[in-house]
């Protein structure tokens, strides 16, 4: 099996034209003794019919059709309009490379420019880049930028930032990460103040946070600035349709995970990191940036700009090592935001709020369950269960419901906590069935 169109006769002609007798002459530089003398032990060849069968069977081993999902925790089951798939699957977008020759890449470049524009609007920042890998590495890039900008090393992180994001920050920054434990699920300004000092480059918080709770952006921004640090918000773009954008209340950098904008969960990747910041930081921004310009006839067009920040020009002095980003996911987000538009996105966000609060109200009427935190929440909340959350998941399995994410997988102390997300896709009837799972889970009071 191959995707090669080459006959024996053509191969011979090519070898003759090159001036060698056999193919092996071309690879004479590869020492004989290190050449692989056997066939690779890899699967295949699998013609399409067999490939479909094999991978189709594996696909079934993921239980996506066995339960209505109330899982979140950074990846959400939002509706993806049919037009998003239809457009984004087109070869013209999917099989193009990074737009290095702008004259034949205006499609991708215009879409990137529109993506940047919509992220600017959602975050309230001055500028946004063309995308980063995911929410976690976007938070890392924000921390790195803050370190360069301030010349300070330490990064203070609100405890309700996604635990995986905290992990990734520690991978990159090691001991320079200080976590301020949450108080009732939120970041308490007095606790934050105690962790700040002249060595702090950035304060990073999530809004809504990992537990679904809203934070107090203004207070956090003010404290960060008082300490001479940058304020970095990690946000969900759907929530930003309703919430005051952090950029408007002083955040220096707003990053986040854009999966919820028209991208499927796909087992957690590919994802869409977005990065927006104040104009004054633009020359320290990581990643690609599209900018408007004109061609020789004065027609509007778009190009990649400020490439002197990037690794292929600046090498070890680059602002980041990123090269390939998540272009196609940024395109999907752009189409999604274009389709839903001003009203649609706000409606999605409001449906999430209403349905999530409805589910929380039903849960609190169920004996033994209560919300773990008091604060205002958006699309997600933590339910304190009377038994291990794993038991609730087990009951859900029998009833075709995945009732949430078992927080015990993050910390053993959280094993009775269930993180529940309710998107606009969940109907009233599904939420009823979800509540029945809670009620049916056996426990002794």
């Amino acid at each position: 099996m191959s995707f090669i169109g080459l006959s024996r006769e053509e191969e011979q002609r090519m070898l003759e034209s090159i001036g060698v007798r056999r193919f092996e002459d071309l690879v004479a530089a590869v020492p004989e003794e290190v050449r692989l003398q056997r066939a690779l032990a890899v699967p295949g060849p699998l013609p399409e019919i067999e490939s479909r069968r094999q991978f189709g069977e594996w696909a079934k081993l993921n239980h996506v059709d066995r339960g209505v999902s109330f899982m979140g925790g950074g990846i959400y089951d939002h509706y993806i309009p049919a037009a998003v798939n239809a457009i984004a699957m087109r070869s013209e977008f999917a099989t193009a490379y990074t737009p290095y020759q702008p004259e034949v890449a205006q499609g991708s470049l215009t879409a990137i420019f529109e993506f940047q524009s919509m992220i600017v609007e959602l975050t309230g920042c001055d500028v946004a880049n063309a995308s980063l890998y995911d929410g976690a590495t976007a938070a890392v890039e924000a921390a790195l930028l803050a370190r360069h900008q301030t010349g300070r090393a330490r990064v203070v992180v609100a405890g309700a930032l996604h635990p995986h994001y905290q992990d990734v920050l520690r991978t990159y920054l090691e001991h320079d990460v200080t976590v301020v434990a949450d108080r009732a699920g939120q970041c308490a300004p007095e606790d934050l103040r105690g962790s700040l000092g002249g060595d702090v480059a950035a304060v990073i918080y999530q809004h809504p946070n990992f537990f679904g709770l809203l934070e107090s952006p203004q207070a956090i921004h003010a404290l960060a600035h008082e300490a001479g640090a940058l304020a970095v918000a990690v946000c969900d773009p759907i929530a930003l349709a309703l919430l005051e954008p952090p950029g408007a209340s002083g955040a220096d950098i707003v990053v986040g995970e854009g999966q919820s904008l028209g991208n499927p969960p796909s087992f957690g990747g590919p994802l869409l990191g977005f990065f927006a910041c104040k104009q004054s930081l633009v020359r320290r921004m990581p990643g690609r940036l599209a900018a408007q310009t004109v061609d020789r006839h004065g027609r509007r067009g778009f190009v990649l700009t400020l490439q002197t920040r990037e690794q292929h020009i600046r090498r070890e002095k680059a602002t980041s090592n990123i090269c390939t980003n998540q272009g196609l996911l940024a395109l999907r987000a752009t189409i999604y935001l274009g389709l839903l538009g001003k009203r649609g996105l706000a409606e999605v966000a409001e449906l999430c709020v209403q349905k999530t609060h409805h589910a929380a109200a039903l849960a609190e009427r169920t004996s033994g369950y209560r919300r773990a935190h008091e604060g205002p929440f958006f699309r997600e909340f933590v339910l304190e269960c009377p038994v291990d959350a794993a038991e609730v998941l087990r009951e859900g399995r029998a009833r075709g419901i995945v009732p949430g994410v078992d927080l015990g997988r993050f910390r053993p102390a959280w094993r009775r906590q269930l993180l529940v997300a309710v998107t606009e896709q969940r109907s009233a009837a599904e939420i009823e069935r979800w509540a029945e799972v809670l009620a049916a889970t056996e426990w002794k009071s």
């Binding site: 995707f3 071309l26 690879v27 692989l36 690779l40 890899v42 099989t95 215009t110």
Partner: protein, 500 residues
């Protein structure tokens, strides 16, 4: 005459909207009550456009792109090969596309199976002991690989001393940028005349402060390092690790395995060699393969198999930690696995063989017209110099722009930095002889035009949706979003110049 293209924000208006959402079917309460104390936004200035117009907007944009399904794309170092459609079809199966990364291991056996099978296949192809599939792209893989090297030196008590990484001057820019990111310092060594590693320079640079040597094989000129085993040996003798940038793996599959050459770690640009669509700049995937001594340092979680059940294991004390929000670019990993299992052992070998054959064929034909600074047989790509056209006032950039008029994408230009007016050409194995000949004919014609009508090249491209764009102006004005765009003059995209 075209009326020009408008941005989405310049279309539709109040009262226009896309797909409808269902009415709220649960009891509702005012937002102010549900979100007490929260500050809400006053306005959301997103576009207001109907679905048909949104579809037309993006379809029209799509027609402005060159892409591999349309034509030849010889971008050196980028491996723009055919992207089989079966890969996308399988990745869009609901069982994969809708899998949630925080579902239980029992509910994720299919996804974990894909990850494990890919890791095994990549370990076999590269000759290493273990693979992590968490990094989202090549540069992310470089960072992850260097982290493991750093962790290994620390585990031996040499972490504080060994902080230098030797990188040849022909390396990709991501190499020094990644070195910097792990807190190491880059030591650049000049290549020797044939662009291969200068062993004497390497010996002089190696000392007890060297953490690693980072090499691209074949190098960015498309040449295999004939003394590679000696290089890895002297690096190891000096206590350093040897990192391979796997951007050019498309030359090696089934022929030689980096693990057998003495490398300790490498990343694989899965989107290149294993043909996942590049998406106009990603997503890619940058799995990292390591020798056995680095296995304890792999990022968490790793997938382990016990009693026929696959599960995620995060309990590994020597791990460098997590590098991604979840499990890396799973949808891309899946496409890569479909690709390599479609080809199978024989097909993979044919893949690299034909990539090498195609590159050599093109190189020998084009060396008659353009300068070939390094005349050895190449592997999967080669680098020409456009400096011979300087006498006509023509630069490599002009050749690149003129190529666009022939319906092919330009090669990578001005890289590697060690070749003057470089044109880096990688045809890949999926191009036919006919396509190669067409490209060569275009290149030859352009050389002729350079001599006879250089003005044509300076004005090129002439047939693309826009002509040469003013990059200087873009950087000066920095209009990076449509709020800025609407403040300056609002020339419609690609509108025909005004005519009398």
């Amino acid at each position: 005459m075209s009326l020009g293209r408008r941005l989405l924000i310049e279309q539709g208006g109040p009262g226009h909207r896309g797909p409808a959402l269902p009415a709220c079917d649960v009891p509702t309460r005012p937002l102010a009550e549900l979100l007490p104390g929260a500050r809400l936004r006053a306005d959301l200035a997103l576009p207001q456009v109907s679905e048909p117009e949104v579809v037309r907007h993006f379809i029209e944009l799509s027609t402005l792109n060159h892409h591999i399904d349309r034509g030849f794309y010889p971008l050196g170092s980028c491996t723009m090969k055919h992207n089989p459609k079966i890969n996308d079809e399988i990745a869009s199966l609901p069982g994969f596309a809708l899998a949630h990364p925080l579902a239980s291991d029992e509910a994720s056996q299919g996804a974990l199976r894909v990850v494990v099978e890919l890791q095994r296949a990549l370990a076999e192809i590269t000759g290493f002991a273990a693979v992590t599939t968490q990094p989202a792209a090549g540069a992310h893989g470089e960072f992850t690989g260097l982290l493991m090297i750093r962790a290994w030196h620390r585990s031996r008590g040499e972490g504080d001393r060994r902080k230098r990484v030797i990188v040849p001057d022909s390396a990709h820019g991501t190499n020094p940028a990644s070195v910097n990111l792990v807190g190491y310092e880059t030591v650049t060594i000049a290549s020797e005349e044939h662009a291969t590693v200068d062993l004497e320079a390497l010996r002089r640079a190696l000392d007890d402060r060297t953490a690693a040597v980072m090499l691209t094989v074949p190098n960015t000129l498309g040449l295999f390092e004939p003394r590679i085993r000696e290089i890895t040996r002297i690096a190891h003798d000096a206590g350093a690790q040897v990192y391979m940038d796997g951007a050019n793996l498309n030359a090696l599959v089934g022929l030689v395995r980096p693990g057998d050459l003495g490398f300790d770690v490498m990343h694989i640009n899965l989107h290149k060699t294993f043909s996942t669509p590049h998406g106009g700049g990603g997503p890619g995937a940058g799995p990292v393969a390591v020798a056995a001594h680095l296995e304890p340092f792999l990022p968490v979680p790793v997938v382990v198999e016990a009693g026929g059940l696959l599960r995620l294991d995060s309990n590994r004390e020597s791990s460098v930690g997590r590098v991604h929000s979840f499990h890396g670019n799973f949808g891309i990993l899946l496409r890569g696995l479909v690709y390599l299992s479609t080809l199978g052992p024989q097909g993979l070998r044919e893949m690299s063989r034909t990539a090498i054959l195609n590159a050599n064929y093109l190189m020998r034909r084009l060396e008659k017209t353009y300068e070939l600074p390094h005349p050895e047989h190449c592997m999967h790509e080669f680098v020409l110099s456009g400096r011979g056209l300087r006498k006509h006032g023509i630069k490599t950039l002009d050749v690149a722009k003129r190529l666009l008029d022939f319906g092919v994408h330009a090669p990578t230009v001005y890289f590697p930095l060690i070749v003057d007016e470089a044109l880096m050409i990688e045809p890949t194995e999926t191009e036919t002889l006919d396509r190669l000949d067409h490209f060569a004919a275009a290149m030859e014609r352009i050389a002729q035009e350079a001599a006879e009508n250089p003005k044509l090249l300076l004005e090129a491209p002439l047939t693309t949706p826009v002509s040469r764009l003013d990059e200087g102006r873009a950087a000066r004005e920095l209009v990076l979003h449509w709020g800025g765009a609407t403040r300056s003059e609002r020339a419609p995209v690609g509108q025909a110049p005004s005519r009398a």
